[in-house]
Amino acid sequence: MASTEIARQAGEGARAVPLSGHVGFDSMPDQLVNKSVNHGFCFNILCVGETGMGKSTLMDTLFNTKFEGEPTQHNQPGVTLKSNTYELQESNVRLKLTVVNTVGFGDQINKEDSYKSIVEFIDAQFEAYLQEELKIKRTLHSYHDTRIHACLYFIAPTGHSLKSLDLVTMKKLDSKVNIIPIIAKSDAISKSELAKFKIKITSELVSNGVQIYQFPTDDESVAEINSSMNSHLPFAVVGSTEEVKLGNKMVKARQYPWGTVQVENENHCDFVKLREMLIRVNMEDLREQTHTRHYELYRRCKLEEMGFKDTDPDSKPFSLQETYEAKRNEFMGELQKKEEEMRQMFVQRVKEKEAELKEAEKELHEKFDRLKKLHQDEKKKLEEKKKSLDDELNMFKQKKTAAELLQNQAQQAGGSSTLKRDKERKNNPWLCTE
């Protein structure tokens, strides 16, 4: 029989070995990229901002298409999130883009709960992914990732400072999603005001401890551009899908009587910077941050909430399995107890009902007996009466027959007795009528 002897040499610190010829694994990044191209990408953006901030227009401008939808009304009772998925393709890259809009944000009189639906939505996406990851038979490979990768927060161009609603919402969202604050409709602010506004916003964010997404500066090839962009946050953008003829080109712009604001002119607004940062340079990093930071945080909190720990009080590592077993037994025990309780209650109710019914039955019986007795009494009385009536009738008959007999006898002795009777009558002072 064979047994194992596993000898692992230099596990962590592997030795660096020089190559004496071309091996060919420098094609690995290409292989990886090819696989991803075949698979397709997905990217999910959440746009948070009050109604009328130009969220939909900005999305249209960013991705250079016309997404469907009409502008929403201002009379929404609460904040709802509407998400739409689009499939875009550029050269050989297929992107499944999901744009989530907050409908009715900032429109209510009492805005205390506005942020809640947004947080719930983001959590729901994390939850869906977590459920898929925890399944026994899972298909992570072909799972459509709906977790929000970037949140564009639209700040109203007041020129003064952030609204308290903005601060509260951003504070609640910064640990769940990558927040990129942008100043919407920034053609309403002049250049000097804009600079002051940006400084005010950043200082307010810092003083309130809001962590917005910082473009990564650890990779040398993009460190420079990212760090310079970091200093331009928040981006002041203008969105437009209408094209205006400028010189001999058609440019995306907004035309006013006093001039034209060109969307893609860096002197006019930061739209180009936003597009550069969001799509062309950091899309992958946004996705990675979402997965490795925000999702892991959510997962950890959720699992700890459910009662799983990595180590128990004695610092011995718990296996997830043991905890599950324990929890499951607990759960089953509780369920059984509940079942027992329900059963007891049911049996009790049945007994009570039975007793009631018996009572009713008894009562009915008694009533029946009483009535019967009454009836019998009545009957007896009636019979007695009948009997007495019969007796009377018999007596009457007898009297009648006796009377008739007497009458006959009287008639027979009538001739002789009439005289007598007349004499008697004459003699009878009483019968004399004269």
């Binding site: 010829g21 060919g24 990044p29 292989q31 090819n34 298409t65 550029e90 180009v272 062309r280 499951r328």
Partner: protein
Amino acid sequence: MSETAKPHHPVPPGKGEKTHDSDFSYVGIDAILEQMRRKAMKQGFELNIMVVGQSGLGKSTLMNTLFKSKVSRKSVQPVPEERIPKTVEIKSISHDIEEKGVRMKLTVIDTPGFGDQINNENCWQPIMKFINDQYETYLQEEINIDRKKRIPDSRVHCCIYFIPPTGHCLRPLDVEFMSRLSKVVNIVPVIAKADTLTLEERDHFKQTIRGELRANGVDVYPQKEFDEDAEDRVINDKIREMIPFAVVGSDQEYQVNGKRILGRKTKWGTIEVENIAHCEFAYLRDLLIRTHMQNIKDITGSIHYETYRVRRLNESNTHFTSHQTTFTIRKQQTERGCEFAAPQ
């Protein structure tokens, strides 16, 4: 709270052409490829290859030839004398190699002692245990609550199985091993020391081997069922026509036609390792490294590992989905329900 519409294809004005000067139609989505490439270069890659075969088949030499450096176990540990171990040992050595800015952590897992004893029963067991242990380690790390950013991947991506060049057919040990292990890991069979076979013998041997593998239901890499689309199938069919590759390994260079190339010098000629007319080493290298490396890792990660995970999670009887718990409760309720129907 939210509603998702079906994927909608918006009509873009003038999309599709990538022109940098007129920024109107170019959004820049395809820049993500560049971003991915950068990220991959920064992170580096990991590859774990296992070599299995009897001693003396040239496993270490082939590894050295494949990666053009001394990556084999023998080069790392100076062994005083060649001894055949009494049991199957598993020795794994990691190397950091770099080429044109691409860094790779290569781990070569050697199995000295395989098939060398008189009684070779169950000599695959230590190997299967090792492979499953790697899956287990990965699984444990994955289900941790506080887990690392990048879980270190020590799963065996590919197992190269060395078939001795008998020229006849597969031995029972070969069939047994390959049929067991093809279910848990990607197996690439190669005919070792192929310079002892003539081209006709080689072809005949290969056909026999392919027939025997088919007859025993052994699916070696590239597996037919994992072909993703027609294009893949065409490429992979070509490869499947050629396996097992007949290889010759060498880490010594000789002068041939004015060039220095790797080869084996014999009295009757020099066998050039990278000459496809001489042996199929180049095909093996291309398959393993230049074209299919990512695919090998994907199949390990998404199919073999998932199979292991499903089996492991099922057998430890933990139900992660709540469906099953409620199902059992409801079943019990309906069973007891009949008792309540007729109260006495």
